[in-house]
């Protein structure tokens, strides 16, 4: 009997709690009305905001188009003043941009690597000289770029002309003699150029068959022997032949 009593009370309580929860989960009409009002206002505000933004965009687009036209007419007047065409300026700009990129690449190279690009750097140097005299270089933004690039190319030229040296190693370890030094890839890659090293270091080398370890030799620039170097080489070969 007592169990039945407890069970009935428990059931009644559960029923109460369940009905309260169901009643709470459902939106009331008042809440619905309040949300409707909130969202109706929000939609109206957002719609007005979107319309205003669209109108602003139209205004900005018109402003942008006018600026395009103004800029074009300003540039046309500038080019007319210089007697050049838009095409000339675009070509100048492209050439300059290409050179800027190439110089950046060259600047990353070592002095030894740069030597392989001597012709290109010299051509660039000459062309920059011509470009700096062009009327287009009178336009400050191009003139400034030409000047900046010229400074970089000057730096590359300096690296090219920097005196190259070679420190003599030992015969037992490095097999260093003028012939073998001249043959090295980063020197002349041509053993027959050895008289150039000899003649470039007459103060240190009296006899080309004798060079000493740790001797610092200048490596003169050039791809061929000069007349004097050839003549020195010939007299060396004659002397050698005579002594045998």
């Amino acid at each position: 009997m007592k169990t039945l009593k407890n069970f009935t009370i428990l059931l009644a309580l559960s029923l109460l709690v369940l009905s309260a929860v169901v009643a709470q989960e459902k939106m009331t009409k008042d809440e619905w009305q309040s949300e409707m009002a909130t969202y109706t206002k929000k939609v109206a505000d957002l719609d007005a905001q979107a319309k205003k933004l669209a109108a602003d965009m139209d205004g900005l687009k018109a402003q942008s188009d006018k600026l395009d036209a103004d800029l074009r007419s300003c540039e046309d007047a500038l080019y007319a003043m210089l007697g050049v065409t838009r095409g000339d300026v675009e070509a100048f700009n492209k050439e300059l941009a290409d050179m800027e990129n190439r110089v950046t690449e060259l600047q990353r190279m070592s002095d030894a690597e740069l030597l392989n690009h001597r012709d290109e750097i010299e051509r660039m140097n000459t062309r920059l000289g011509e470009m700096s005299k062009s009327k287009i270089a009178l336009i400050p933004r191009y003139g400034a770029r030409v000047t900046a690039l010229q400074e970089k190319v000057d730096g590359l030229m300096k690296s090219l002309n920097r005196e190259k040296t070679y420190t003599v190693g030992t015969w037992s370890r490095d097999r260093d003699c003028l012939w073998n030094i001249a043959k090295k890839k980063d020197i002349y890659a041509n053993a027959w150029m050895w008289p150039k090293i000899w003649q470039g270091n007459r103060d240190k080398i009296k006899d080309p068959d004798v060079i000493k370890p740790k001797m610092v030799l200048k490596i003169p620039e050039g791809k061929e022997l000069s007349k004097a170097e050839k003549s020195a080489a010939n007299s060396y070969y004659r002397r050698k032949a005579g002594s045998q």
Partner: protein
């Protein structure tokens, strides 16, 4: 009437009252659909407004860049005039 039965009846009445009150004052399915439609409209408009704000910022930047270019061109003109001795 015995106590448990009495309590059960009271609880049933109260629960019924709650449910009746909740059901009779809650919005209909049609009204809920209206609210949901309004919510989705608001969400779409929020997206549209955000997109337009981004476009506007981009356009303003473009205009600032073009203004700077125009000023540069005008100062280039002055410099060239000076260099040419005009």
């Amino acid at each position: 009437m015995k106590l448990p039965v009495k309590a059960f009846l009271w609880a049933s009445c109260l629960a019924g009252g709650f449910l009746l009150a909740a059901c009779s004052s809650s919005p209909s399915d049609e009204e809920m659909a209206k609210l949901n439609e309004l919510k989705s409209q608001a969400s779409q408009l929020e997206g549209k407004v955000a997109g337009l704000q981004r476009d506007k910022a981009g356009m303003e930047k473009q205009i600032a860049d073009k203004n700077a270019k125009l000023q540069e061109c005008q100062s280039d003109q002055d410099a060239v005039k000076k260099a040419l001795g005009k």
